[in-house]
Structures are given as structure tokens and as C-alpha cells.
Symmetry: C2
Subunit: 400 residues, 2 copies
């Protein structure tokens, strides 16, 4: 049976995912992703004021958000959040052991944990897991690696993009987990992206941040935001000429990185808790970029709109309501809305439209809403999913 390759597809990386008994389900729950040497890396972490010990560790290792990193150790099941001094010691111990087994130093190892909050990590299991993973590093474990970071995710989510830089093909690959608690500014989302491109850490960080702004940070599942969100990119430098700021290569690399991030983002939204549809909300002709972002996210965050989409109800009133309550500058008489390309509201007034046609569009698995503010030239697209009874079931029955 063919293995799906992704995270180790770019040259210069190996990985392993193992079952060490943190998850009561017995599924994979610990992974290591390793570069052949310390390589340029960039990291983005949650903007929540309460953060887990692993996030604190990563910020200590990469205080500017970029630097050189040898590997990442990840676990699911227990998030190591609200665990006080012990949590910090445990995160550091994970880095220490991983470093020792890889012949690296602890400050070259990032630590990422996701799962329940307030419980200490089961360190004996974690140690056994790290040891087992370090022994089995290779290029045929990618599925086990992505399974090891999943919590309520129902699907293994990965993306691969290739592009040519100066006559040579470079590869970017990513994995992501994140099903609920996904909100503006990286809620419970864990993503690792590897690439064989050659690029300096500060430029990598700048490009990664810009890509995340239009993708990971454009997502809201339920407006909640986690204490553990982390997205990392590692660049092994094994392929292509060095990516220089301002060059054509730089623009192509940035476009490829944004494409990976977007594919992961859309996969994540489609696998949102209880989600049955992807909803993309584009706000056009906003007076400012921040107006476009505010209006699009306000619609994406509206439970009423998400319920209406779930019920395939062409309820444009909820879109108008959500735009109106946002911080964006809105002139009601200039506001227009289309659903699936069908104009339902134009310049402040409802249009006669085929309810049946809009309902058909809403019944599909991808719903496209466009809002024209008629005030300027800025645009932004936010992504969310519908709100279903299954979301409630998942989150009311999930026990601490």
C-alpha cells in the first residue's frame, strides 16, 4: 500500500509518529519532525494572553519568531496549559531528551502540545514516545505524524506545493490539525510546514506572517481561540538558489507558501467541528484593509448566518446585520451582497432573486458570499464553516 508522502517530501527532513499512550483511544499521539541539520525556521504563536508551557518554550527558543531549528517534538492528548512551573519543566524536558537523541542542543528543538488543558503531561509515556520516535525517523511515516497531532479532527490534513525557482523545483509541504477553537489569530491550530527552499530566517518569517494573515488568520470556526496555537515553517535549503528579498523568486516562493497555507486552511475549515460546508466570505470595495477584515470576520463569526447556511436558507438579512454590527465603515445605501454569484441585495435594498437557485448553491459543500461595501478598493476573504447540531454535540459531550 502506497504511503502518502508530504512533510518529508522536501529534501532534508525525516519524521516519525508513534503511539505512546497519552490518548485513551490508543491512536498516535507523539511525533518528531527533524531536519538533517539546524535550518532556518519561523514560528507564529497564539495571541491569547494565557499560553501553554510549550508556547513559552518556543518563544524562549525563538524570541524574534525566527532562527535556526533542528527539530520539533509534538504531542496530542494533553496540551500542557495551566500547569504552572511543572509544565515549563516538562516542556523543557521534552526538548532536552529530543535534543540528546538527535545530537542537537535543546535550544534547537521546538515543543508543541495540544489536547486537554490543566492536566500535567504523563512524562514517563512521553519519554518512551520520544525515544521510540527518534529510533524510527524516516520518510515513510508521514501519515503517522499527522495522526499524532490530531485531536477532534476527523481527517488527516496535508498539502504539497511545488514551484520552480531559477530553473530548479522546490517543494513545500505542510500538515495541520485544528477542528474547533479556531478563530482569528491562530486558535487551536497546529501546523508544520517544511520546504527545501534556501532562505534566510528573517525573510522566511516575514513571508510566513504575510501568508498566515490571508489564510490561517482568516479562519474562524467558532470565534474561540486556543492557548496553544502554533505554526512553524522549516527551510532545509537543499533546493534552488537562495530566495532574496524583492526578487521574482521571492514573490514565487511567497505565493507557493501562501498556497500551502491556504490549502491547509481550507482543509481545516472543512473539518471544523460539525462542519458540513466551507463558507468563504469576501468583502470587496472596503475603505480600508482593516475594514475589509472586520466586516468579513464579523459575518464569518455570526452563529445566525452559519445556522442559516446550514439550513440552506437564503437569509441575506443576517449577512447585512453582521456587516452592520462590525467595526467596518458601512454605508447601508451602498451595500450589495451576492450568494453563489446571485445578487440578493443591491445598494441597500433586497433584490428579486430565485430563492430556489440560492438554496441550491447553499446546499452544496462550498458556499461563496461576496459583500461589496462600495466605499473603496480594499478586499479580504474570511473562511468559516456552517454551524450544525453536531458542533453542539461534540462540545457539550467533550469532557475535561
Amino acid at each position: 500500500m502506497g504511503q502518502v508522502r508530504h512533510i518529508t517530501l522536501p529534501a532534508g527532513f525525516v519524521a516519525s509518529g508513534v503511539k505512546c499512550g497519552i490518548k485513551t483511544t490508543g491512536r498516535e499521539d507523539l511525533a518528531i519532525i527533524v531536519a538533517d541539520e539546524a535550518v532556518p525556521a519561523a514560528i507564529l504563536t497564539t495571541s491569547n494572553q494565557v499560553v501553554g508551557a510549550p508556547v513559552i518554550w518556543c518563544r524562549k527558543v525563538l524570541p524574534k519568531g525566527y532562527g535556526k531549528i533542528r527539530g520539533i517534538v509534538l504531542n496530542s492528548g494533553v496540551a500542557n496549559v495551566c500547569t504552572g512551573r511543572r509544565g515549563l519543566t516538562d516542556a523543557e524536558a521534552m526538548a532536552d531528551l529530543t535534543a540528546r537523541l538527535l545530537g542537537a542542543t535543546p535550544d534547537e528543538i521546538l515543543v508543541v502540545s495540544t489536547g486537554v488543558i490543566g492536566h500535567p503531561l504523563p512524562m514517563p509515556k512521553i519519554r518512551r514516545g520520544i525515544t521510540a520516535a527518534a529510533r524510527t525517523l524516516g520518510r515513510s511515516n508521514d501519515s503517522a505524524v499527522v495522526r499524532a497531532i490530531m485531536t477532534t479532527d476527523t481527517k488527516e490534513k496535508s498539502a504539497v506545493v511545488q514551484t520552480r525557482l531559477g530553473g530548479e523545483t522546490i517543494t513545500l509541504a505542510g500538515i495541520v490539525k485544528g477542528a474547533g477553537m479556531i478563530a482569528p489569530s491562530l486558535a487551536t491550530m497546529i501546523s508544520v510546514i517544511t520546504t527545501d527552499a534556501k532562505i534566510a530566517p528573517p525573510l522566511l518569517h516575514r513571508i510566513f506572517r504575510a501568508a498566515a494573515a490571508e489564510t490561517f488568520n482568516a479562519v474562524t470556526i467558532d470565534s474561540d481561540q486556543s492557548t496553544s496555537d502554533t505554526a512553524v515553517v522549516l527551510a532545509s535549503g537543499r533546493a534552488g538558489k537562495k530566495v532574496q528579498s524583492g526578487s521574482t523568486s521571492c514573490r514565487k516562493f511567497a505565493a507557493a507558501l501562501e498556497e500551502v497555507c491556504r490549502e491547509l486552511t481550507l482543509a481545516m475549515v472543512r473539518d471544523g467541528e460539525g462542519a458540513t460546508k466551507l463558507i468563504s466570505i469576501t468583502v470587496k470595495s472596503a475603505a480600508t484593509k482593516s475594514d475589509a477584515v472586520a466586516a468579513a470576520k464579523s459575518v464569518a463569526d455570526s452563529p445566525l448566518l452559519k445556522c442559516a447556511v446550514h439550513g440552506a436558507d437564503p437569509n441575506w438579512g443576517r449577512i447585512v446585520m453582521a456587516v452592520g454590527k462590525s467595526a467596518a465603515k458601512v454605508a447601508p445605501a451602498k451595500l450589495s451582497v451576492t450568494i453563489g454569484g446571485i445578487r440578493v441585495f443591491a445598494r441597500g435594498l433586497p433584490k428579486n432573486f430565485s430563492h430556489r437557485a440560492v438554496r441550491e448553491h447553499l446546499k452544496g459543500d462550498t458556499v461563496v458570499i461576496e459583500i461589496n461595501l462600495g466605499l473603496g478598493g480594499e478586499k479580504f476573504t474570511a473562511y468559516t464553516c456552517d454551524l450544525s447540531g453536531a458542533y453542539i454535540k461534540i462540545n457539550a459531550d467533550y469532557h475535561t
Copy 2:
């Protein structure tokens, strides 16, 4: 069978609620509430940038939010929002006809509509309804009046408070509708309060605004916000000495008005769409009042927390997460949380607590969450309800 008296209990008011055929259910859908003469009034309206024609009319009648008003005409079923020039003409026509039948001028009549958005008012039915209501004004129609403003509400919601000012009893009475789309800053909420107290319009407005800040504006059902929210208070001046700013009477009147608003608020939250419980979230020891408000509303708005409460899961992690993502200043090591008086999290760390005891509290119909930020002396209480599968059902099946 005894009629429940409320809105006409304070001296100087009559009212009527009739069925004029706007609602397809055949229930009451039009009401008039009238003072014996033009009396001091104060009004609060939605902060949504998209507002219905009735809100535009009310703001024209009372540009400062206060003045003298003879009566209010209200309808449910159609909100008269996003109806353009015709909507404004219709709202004005409602005021005109009501004024003529009452022997008043149109600028003494407030208009309030709630229901679906984007549909024009069925004016022939509205006219017949206003005429019928004006003919049947009295003091035995209070139940019909409150039914006439209900949409997805399942219960008639009213409150009566009496207090003694300078040796005389004054009465305050209120009705409210509002089940979904209730969010900070008065989402789809309609409330009318009558009192026989004697008070000047500007002072009434100031006291009403302060009361609403701690009650109506402390509510969030789903973070959505309507285009029609309106709360009005009318004071007939038939009882007690004149309420003067800064006096003991003023403090007593303000306390009584806040009590009416709080009773209506709690009734509204308990009747939130799909709600099975009232959740009160108090943030204490905040550095500033706005921090207390931001933290409490962030928790109240968290779908994850609301699901956890629905499932009676003592998931304090979701409370900590929601506090952390808010704009409030938070020091994780100073943060403490109690649920039903039981300390579950203290100074940044989880406590050993009886899960069974917390679960018992969460199974009740009133859930009390207290969060201590440990940073100052300000506090605020927000109110919400749990998030249940019934919310989804109501809002996915509601058709435009």
C-alpha cells in the same frame, strides 16, 4: 380568569394588542401603548450601522434620545428593515394613523417593528390593526400587548417593581421580547417600560442608559446584534414627588429602574433560543471597568463554554481561554475561577475540586461563574444562556 397586569399598572397608561394578520401563525402582532397625555420618555436604540426604518423614525422624533411622547405603536412579524424609501414612508404612516386616532401629533408617536428583514410591511393589515387597537385601549390587555411583540420568544416576559419615594409608592412595569440575536449593545430586543414616577426627560434618559449598561447591554445570546433593537421608558408623572438629580429619591428610582431592567434581562436570557439555563459571569478585581466588561463578555460569548455548560462539563479551561483572548488585561498567575462557588482554578493553576459537585451545579437552571483577575477593584456581570442543539434547529429552520 385573572388578567396579569403589568404595562398598564403604573397610573396614566392604557394599551391594546390585536391580531391583524401579519404573523402567519394568527397570533397577536400589533400593539399600542399610550399615555394619557404626552409624557417624559427616553429611548435607547441599536448600535448596528444598518438600522430599520422604525429606528430612523424614532431617532427623528427623539434626536437626543429623550423628550415627550404620547404613545408607541409596535408590530411583530415584519421588521421593516432594508426596505428603502418605502420603509420610511410606512413607518411614518404608522405614526400618522396612530396619532390621528389618539388625537396626538405624529412626532409624539414612536414606532417599533420586529420580525423578518427585507419585506415591506403589509400596510392594509397594519392600518386595520392600528384602528382596532386604538378602539380597544384599556387596562386589561397587557398579555395581548406582550404577545404582540413576540417573535421566537416562547414566554410572555414582564416585570413589575414598586418603591416608595418621599412617602408615596411609585410603580415601574416593563415588557420585553428578544430571544436570539441578542448581543452587547441591545441586539434584537424590544422593551417598553412604563412608570408613574415624575421625572424630567434628560434625567430619565441618563438613569435609563446607566441601568441598561448593567442589564440589557450585559446580555449576549449569540454575539449577534439586530438592526431593530429598541428600549423605551415612559414616565407619566402621576405618582410621587418629582425625582431630582442627586437626591435619595433619584438613587431609589434608579435602583428600581435597574431592577425592572434586570428582571426583564434575566427573563430574556432564560428564554434565549434553545436555552436551558441562565449563566451569569461575574468578573471581579479587574484593573478597569472596561476590562471587567471585556473579560465577562468574552466568556459569555464563547460557544465552547456555552456548550460545556449545556453538557454540565466542569471545563474551566474554556473559561480561562476566553478570558485570555479578551481585550482585558490579564495576568495568568493571578487568575482565579469559581463555578457555583467552588474554586476550580486559583492563581494560574487548576485546583483539586469535586467534579461531581460542580457537575451538580451545572445541571441546575442557573449557573454562576466568578472570575477574579486579581488586578484591581472593578467588576461586571454578563448574562448568557447555554448553547444547545435547539438553537441550531431554530436558526437553521427559520426561513426568510
